[in-house]
């Protein structure tokens, strides 16, 4: 791994902003060539995630990860998602380790953990 995924993402965003609109396709082409040349092709998913975070942050949005212990009914899930607006990006996934409840993480740094597993941990580990 020659460079970290965040470094690639930051470089692409800077190149995108520094070049005129007519050159944007060329920028992407050259970016792909650099990744291939450095042998970091398998980092594409990680670079993609980093790009998503960077661009969302630039626009003032948040990356929201909603984890539920089991699939919620569509109505309830939609209600949760409607708390966020564009340019926020909302990812929903199941995590049975939560046992019950929901955990919401913002930008991978702040978390509101309303899961049963969290309550148990607080009750028995911190008592």
């Amino acid at each position: 791994m020659k460079y970290k995924a965040e470094s690639y993402a930051r470089a692409l965003v800077e190149a995108w902003h520094d070049s005129p609109t007519s050159e944007h396709d060329r920028v992407i082409e050259r970016f792909i060539q650099v990744i291939r040349k450095n042998g970091d092709w398998n980092q594409i998913p990680a670079i993609n995630t980093s790009l998503e975070r960077l661009l969302t942050k630039e626009k003032g949005g948040k990356i929201v990860d909603i984890e539920t212990a089991r699939p919620l009914p569509t109505k309830i899930m939609q209600g949760l998602i409607n708390n966020f607006r564009s340019p926020d990006i909302v990812n929903v996934k199941n995590n049975t380790k939560l046992i019950a409840g929901v955990r919401i993480t913002l930008n991978g740094t702040e978390e509101l953990d309303l899961s049963f597993a969290h309550k148990l941990r607080k009750l028995f580990r911190n008592a």
Binding site: E6, G108, T109, K119
Partner: protein, 509 residues
């Protein structure tokens, strides 16, 4: 019984109140070899305790490297269950250790957990408080000069390389030269120094063998020294993070007592292993290596630790923290990187040589290379009077001894000097774990330096010394030893009495 347990559980769960709130979290993205990289937690403090969630328990870790996109952490607990993706929570607490009177007599690890099997240290009603492991050293205006002696009970040191309370005196030498023995004797001797406040003694074992630590504790226990001592222990098998933190933990405990006006003696055994642990952590966390692969701030590591040893002025409680750091050299090389660093930080060094040890001169102190920068300011008047000439006599003896190897005929004056030097060398020999109160040292050195032992054969010097001290302590404690102990000075009355007693004893020896 099962019904009782269920009822208790129900009560506990019923009484559980939790207020949902946002917490700062991160995720482990890389882990191994005692360190991990955590993404997120962009508001983490340096040296903050973080908790890594694992299925079995929460593992504490220390935020060591704060970088732009991740944090380098070192584990402070069992790391086997930590995986990529483990959640990491911020605690908001900077690394600290609980300090209180209950620590005295206990053996614990750098995060404050007892390892002596005697149960928990602090009960619910304890008045212990958290002391941060990293704390700024006392400022210049908070200090006063070092004046009160800290007697080690070793004649060669108390006479020629005197240590004061608040000083930093390095003990340096190759492996198996008696470095730890000197520190142990210093701790054991503190109960013999009855005319000064008893200091709290803290022994910090950094990466030592478990057998050595166990033996050390046993010796303290048998000598009744554990009642004023604390041991902070990390064995060779402990993670590098704990070895790195051990001296700081010991220092924090020492500062607790110093801030309350007590005198404290702390031994760091040894800082060479401490430097190696720090190098290991720094290399794992990809900090740029410098000379001998040590990180660039290796000097700062020891400087900030040793600067916390001080003698505080009356306005700040008059407490003191005396540090005896130990450094192990390789093949007597005191000009290596870490030894020269620590020599330049401390207020003197006690240099132990393998050659002297192998020749039977124990403690194997090289008096020529050893120094105490505080000097006689930290010596009692009695010792100053008696031992003033000792260093000079020994220096002259060393010069003449080399000369003797090349010359056959010597004049009387030279022969006398050599004989006197041999006598003094014999007097300065001392078994380990036999610290001598300073008043006993004073009388024996007085006898040796004033020619009273010239007729005693070298082979009988040890026996003479033991018998003489026994004789004086049984018959003349009130008239000789007690005045020395209480006034710290040898006035003319005591001196005359001492001369008479020496002659009296020589007659019956």
């Amino acid at each position: 019984m099962a019904y009782d347990i269920i009822e208790k559980l129900k009560k506990e769960i019923g009484g559980f109140k939790e207020k949902p709130e946002f917490e700062h979290v991160g995720v482990v993205i890389e882990a191994g070899d005692g360190i991990a990289r955590v993404s997120g937690l962009n508001k983490a403090l340096s040296q903050e305790i973080l908790m890594i969630e694992t299925p079995k328990e929460d593992v504490p870790a220390l935020a060591f490297n704060l970088e732009e996109s991740s944090i380098g952490v070192v584990f402070l607990g069992a790391q086997e269950k930590i995986t990529i993706g483990s959640r990491v929570r911020s605690t908001g607490r900077v690394l600290s250790i609980k300090a209180g009177e209950e620590l005295i007599g206990r053996v614990l690890n750098p995060i404050g957990e007892p390892v002596d099997g005697k149960g928990i240290v602090f009960g619910k009603s304890s008045k212990a408080i958290d002391y941060p492991l990293e704390r700024p050293a006392p400022t210049v205006v908070m200090r006063e000069s070092v004046r009160v002696p800290l007697h080690t009970g070793i004649k060669a040191i108390d006479a020629m390389i005197p240590i004061g309370r608040g000083q930093r005196e390095l003990i340096i030498g190759d492996r198996q030269t008696g470095k730890t023995s000197i520190a142990l004797d210093a701790i054991l001797n503190q109960k013999n120094d009855t005319s000064r406040p008893l200091p709290i003694c803290i022994y910090v074992a950094v990466g030592q063998k478990n057998s050595k630590i166990a033996q050390f504790v046993k010796i303290l226990e048998e000598a009744d020294a554990l009642k004023y001592s604390i041991v902070v222990a990390t064995s060779a098998a402990d993670p590098a993070a704990l070895k790195y933190l051990a001296p700081f933990a010991g220092c924090a405990i020492g500062e607790y007592f110093m801030d309350r006006g007590r005198d404290v003696l702390i031994v760091y055994d040894d800082l060479s292993k401490h430097a190696e642990s720090y190098r290991e952590l720094s290399l794992l966390l990809r900090r740029p290596p410098g000379r001998e692969a040590f990180p660039g701030d290796i000097f700062y590591l020891h400087a900030r630790l040793l600067e916390r040893a001080a003698k505080l002025d009356a306005a700040h409680g008059s407490g003191s923290l005396t540090a005896l750091p130990i450094i192990e050299t390789q093949l007597g090389d005191v000009s290596a990187y870490i030894p020269t660093n620590v020599i330049s930080i401390t207020d003197g060094q006690i240099y132990l040589e393998s050659n002297l040890f192998n020749q039977g001169l124990r403690p194997a102190v090289n008096v020529g290379l050893s120094v105490s920068r505080v000097g006689s300011a930290a010596q009692t008047k009695a010792m100053k009077k008696v031992a003033g000439r000792l260093r000079l006599e020994l220096a002259q003896f060393r010069e003449l001894r080399a000369f003797v190897q090349f010359a056959a005929d010597l004049d009387e004056a030279t022969k006398k000097k050599i004989k006197q030097g041999e006598l003094l060398t014999e007097v300065l020999k001392q078994n380990d774990r036999s610290p001598m109160p300073f008043e006993n040292q004073t009388i024996i050195l007085y006898a040796a330096l004033n020619g009273f032992l010239n007729e005693v054969p070298l082979a009988d010097i040890k026996r003479f010394e033991e018998s003489f001290i026994d004789y004086v302590s049984k018959r003349y404690d009130e008239s000789i030893l007690k005045p020395l102990r209480e006034k710290n000075d040898m006035d003319q009355t005591v001196e005359k009495k001492l001369k008479d007693v020496i002659e009296e004893f020589k007659g019956i020896f």
